[in-house]
């Protein structure tokens, strides 16, 4: 089997993120010390989750436009991967927080609201499993998906900026700030984000293909 180019790219970028992330110089900062390298592994989970959830909601809208169950499958499987990335982000964040903020959970505004955002998505799967009718399930969950996606913006981006957070980078206007990430770190950080995102897409496509085989009778009815 010839491996698709983006799968190879994902492998290469992640190898670079592991080697470069551990061996390249990192800025010496108090408190975080070497754990600053977690930026290459913890933060890409959240960036990846945003991309994956965007794909999920786009497919939910596509389903609502033409009622093709293929889109429902894609939307649901991307949602699953997105929640996985969110849980990994929350867990890795808690480990990092234990050694920098002193406790795994400090009721930091971003911690609380990230958990809220994930719980909203958790309800998406409860909703899906509670409906038996395939078309109704697809339609209701597509509508809910749009709501859950919309809620990501206040919970992850807007409200945390209105309160003091232990997280860095929330002050001022982060979009135009050039000092959030050290230039050396940026050289590893962005490839890491792309690598992790592509790996998540890869795994999701496998789930989608399995689901298509499972639902074959429904899809071709």
């Amino acid at each position: 089997m010839k491996l698709a180019w983006w799968k190879i790219l994902s492998i290469v970028l992640l190898i670079y993120a592991f080697v470069g992330g551990l061996l390249l110089p990192a800025p010496a900062r108090p408190i975080v010390n070497e754990s600053i390298r977690n930026l290459y592994y913890h933060v890409p989970m959240w960036f990846g989750m945003m991309v994956i959830m965007t794909v999920s909601v786009v497919n939910a809208i596509k389903y609502l436009r033409n009622s093709n169950l293929q889109y429902d499958i894609i939307s649901a499987q991307y949602g699953r991967t997105g929640v996985l990335l969110g849980i990994l982000g929350l867990t890795t964040g808690a480990i990092w927080a234990k050694y920098t903020w002193g406790a795994p959970w400090s009721n930091d505004i971003k911690q609380i609201l990230a958990a809220v955002a994930l719980l909203i998505y958790a309800a998406y799967f409860v909703l899906r499993s509670s409906l038996d009718d395939i078309d109704k399930k697809a339609r209701v969950s597509a509508v809910y998906n749009i709501f859950a996606y919309t809620m990501l913006f206040p919970t992850l981006f807007i409200i945390p900026r209105l309160y003091d957070s232990l997280h860095p980078g929330g002050e001022g206007n982060p979009a135009i700030s050039q000092q959030d990430i050290d230039p050396v770190m940026r050289m590893v950080f962005w490839p890491a984000v792309l690598g992790w995102t592509l790996l998540s897409v890869w795994i999701t496509t496998l789930f989608i293909r399995v689901q298509r085989i499972k639902d074959k009778n429904i899809l071709h009815a």
Binding site: F18, V19, L23, N33, I213
Partner: protein, 73 residues
Amino acid sequence: MLKQGKILLVALFCIFFIQIQAQVVKPVEMADTMRSNGKIYVVVAVILTLFAGLIFYLINLDKKISRIEKDVD
């Protein structure tokens, strides 16, 4: 006047330089031991081995699904 000004300028530079020096004197302690005796490479090797194993597994799964897809059609 000009000479005095020059001296003042040099003095200012000196103060500025000393301040920079003072910042450099207090380095933040990083885990340099692992790096200096090379053992960090062991960690990198372990991570890469694990990653290679997982990717191998993932590619295998990918192939297997492709085969089933062919069988189903």
